[in-house]
């Protein structure tokens, strides 16, 4: 038997059975409240919440405690929690992560780990968007040249698949982004903002938003923060539903003989739509009141206040 194997078995022997699920929470942020609540309710097992408070040393101490008294599974909320669960917990403890954008970037991948992604399936985003803005035929997407996130290509493909004409423009700098945004706003029926830190700086967002208002076209975003800041609407994952999905993953792992690593991370299955009614009025978008049934929340444009 190989040395490596012996050590692995030694590690396995350290594992002890527990009967509760540990929730690691990266920071004390309200955004985690809903998934924790829905997760606990849906799982129906005892849970213990551990606040990492964004503190690395504290997180390592918690990880050490969990290693000595292992829970039956871990829900890691946020990138830091997932990071510590990936790297500091024994691989014998199943881990489900959530609320982590682009988990591949953190190397969240392994036999003991799966999760709920943060990216909404683009088809679901477009379905919601087109319901509220059915006249959109041409949609522009700004993306930095360095952004190789597959989600970008998926978004483009999804838009094409529903018959939209897509204009995806690559940019390499803020100045480039502004130039492209101005042109895009003038020649498209809507602009779709996707996660891209080069494109989505406060400066460029402000500019893109202004161009969208000037041309009276919808600006579709991916987070509520951007709707607050002046995008028309977002179709974002529903945090409560994410908690339920995470609970389903944990239940599946515990109740069936499923190794977490063989379960592909799942996409959010329920959306939360937030509409900025000030922007809606500014661009003259009329929405049938019945359709507003499908909007979870309306906000006012904080950027204008």
């Amino acid at each position: 038997m190989s040395t490596m194997l012996s050590l692995a078995l030694l590690l396995a022997g350290l594992a002890q059975a527990g009967n509760s699920v540990a929730i690691l929470q990266s920071d004390e942020l309200p955004v985690y409240d809903a998934p924790i609540e829905s997760f606990s309710r849906a799982l129906g097992k005892p849970v213990t919440v551990h606040q990492l408070k964004g503190d690395k040393e504290r997180a390592k101490r918690i990880a050490a405690d969990l290693t000595s008294d292992p829970p039956i599974a871990v829900l890691a909320l946020g990138a830091k929690a997932a990071w510590i669960a990936q790297n500091d917990l024994p691989k014998t403890i199943p881990v489900v992560y959530a609320q982590v954008r682009d988990p591949d970037r953190y190397g969240l991948d392994g036999v003991h780990l799966t999760g709920v992604r943060m990216e909404m399936p683009p088809a679901m985003v477009l379905a919601q968007f087109r319901l509220l803005a059915p006249n959109v035929q041409r949609i522009g997407i700004l993306v930095s040249a360095s952004n190789k996130d597959p989600a970008i290509a998926e978004a483009i493909a999804a838009a094409k698949a529903v018959g939209l004409t897509v204009k995806a423009q690559r940019v390499t700098s803020e100045r480039d982004a502004r130039r492209a945004a101005a042109q895009m706003a003038a020649t498209n029926d809507a602009i779709w903002l996707l996660p891209d830190p080069v494109v989505l700086t406060p400066g460029t967002f402000h500019f893109v938003r202004g161009q969208a208002l000037r041309n009276r076209i919808p600006l579709l975003a991916y987070s509520e923060a951007l709707v607050d800041a002046g995008a028309l609407l977002c179709v974002a994952p529903d945090p409560s539903a994410i908690g339920i999905q995470a609970a389903e993953l944990v239940a599946r792992i515990l109740e069936e003989d499923v190794t977490p690593g063989v379960i592909d991370p799942v996409a959010p299955n329920q959306a939360r739509v937030v509409l900025n009614v000030d922007v809606q009025e500014s661009i003259g978008l009329r929405i049938d009141p019945m359709l507003l049934d499908f909007v979870d929340q309306t906000v006012r444009d904080k950027a204008d206040r």
Binding site: H206, T259, D296
Partner: protein, 618 residues
Amino acid sequence: MTTESAPRRYGDYVLLESLGRGGMSAVDLARRSVDSANYVRFLVIKRILRKNHHDPTFVRMFMDEARINAELQHENIAQVYDFGENGGEWYLAMEYVPGVDLRQIQKAVAKQQPGSLLPPRIALRVLHDVLSALQYAHDRVDTYGRPMRIVHRDVNPRNIMVSVRGEVKLIDFGVAKADTRHDQTTGQTIKGKFAYMAPEQIDSDKPVDGRADLFAVGLLLQELLTGTHPFRHLTEIQIIHRLMADRIEPMPDAPAPLDAAAVRDVRDRILSADPDKRHPDARTLQADLVRLAAPLGGLASSAELAGFFRRADPDTAARIAQRLQHWKDSRPAPAPLRPEQVDDGDSLGLPDDTWASDARTHEVPKDWDASPDLGTVADSAPSASTVADPLPAPLIEPTEDSQSASSVVLAPEPRRGLSVAAALGIGGGLGLLFIGGLGVAFLMMSQPDKPPPVHDASAQTRPVDDTPKAPVPQAKVPEEDAATAPEAPPPTPKSGRPKKTGPKPKKAEPKKAAPEAPPAEPDPPPAETKEAPPPDPPKEAPPAEPATGETGFLFATSRPKGMEVWVGGKKLGVTPVRQHPLPVGAHTVVFRDPVSGEKIEQRVQVLTNQSAMVSVTQ
């Protein structure tokens, strides 16, 4: 990524509908036909997603699967017809097995009556056929007469297909070992599913031969005849521990009329840790199974197996028949896609070498990166702009990510397979290194799409209908000019703590919730369920626009709100019901007043990935 578009021409084939899609590859039901000869053959096309063509390991595995499978022509092995490249994609054309995998059969049986098992004659017949396939594979020589020494290494219920015709097919030689493999497995890589893995597959010092597959059959034997599995509820490390310590729990008695002692003897022999103590080959084990079945009347026949399938899972059997009939008679294939319609992200022309400096790494929890190999240990303060940053702070999701969004940390490029290795750098221990190896193995097993290549996805897919879209209330943008909106002041820079959003409305029930009974009064919801095929399969070509999936989305609301919404006998929720996936096709939506029981019906046409909205006012 390749746009899903069905049906569409794909080389000599027509892709009809998606059967599954993983991170690495996609599997479609396809058809090869010669109209003038009234010839139709259904098959399965498995293709590597173009974005994964750069992954040499996966491509090699794919090619190995093709190479090994191409040498195998046996009635109990799903055959590979063709292997090649189309439009820059590698693909395998494989036999389509109209059925489901053994695990689904087990579930269907258990669903009918909790705790019930496959009849022992059926179970033994299935295993007997699997052993036929294994014996053939183990003995196979290549075209030049050289022994191929093929070992499947992943015999498990998901890789055993049972067809509605009573055939048993072993599938997925994706991790098979053979002397002709280009991607020779080394001791550091473990392939196969742990719950069905033989000890020698785990211990790199020991050679693996066909007897490892027999070990898996032994575990299946216990599982099918007793409903137990010695490794159930164990983690993979615990499984390894048990295997290496030769500590497999005794088997409970197989129920009468089986000879429990005889079954135990066979099972114990197969599960010997020492391969030399097992049955020497599949044929010998087959003989034992025949002996076990003899007091029961012998192994079940194909006709019995087919009949059992229809009784155990009548819905699936019916759906498969409907599907094949539908696709046999359906429209001719549309014109080939133009290249620009297949957008895999490469069309953006994004350079490959920019990841390392990608500003997206800002979101890496910088202060958490303890490994010198992985990047810079930066300031741990969760503020937005504490460290010099050559790029403006991005606007990102209000999670803790955003708090650490500003400092420059060049994270590693944690790609599949390598990511575990990256984690190992942190762990540092050899034990973790080994586990990392397991991780790599699992990734290699799981990422190349686990949906079995000939797995019948049971008809959630429906043809794209070319009827007009469902009515959607038109929200028009006024055409008159409006005053140019003044530009607002810049948005407030993101603070560390995101605001708390308002109260969230209650959502639909969790997806695991059992569907409620349909309304009893005054009559049941309409017949076209989401399982049922469209009543009149379209004869015309599909719409020109490419379709990316097999479902669309239903939005339903009412005045007053709170009406129950039913489709195909299933309650979807109460209004407003939104974005409920439905198979493409015509549906009748039934709105039901929960108090008065009054019902209102609305027809709706669901198109691929499109929103279909219906509303009623009482």
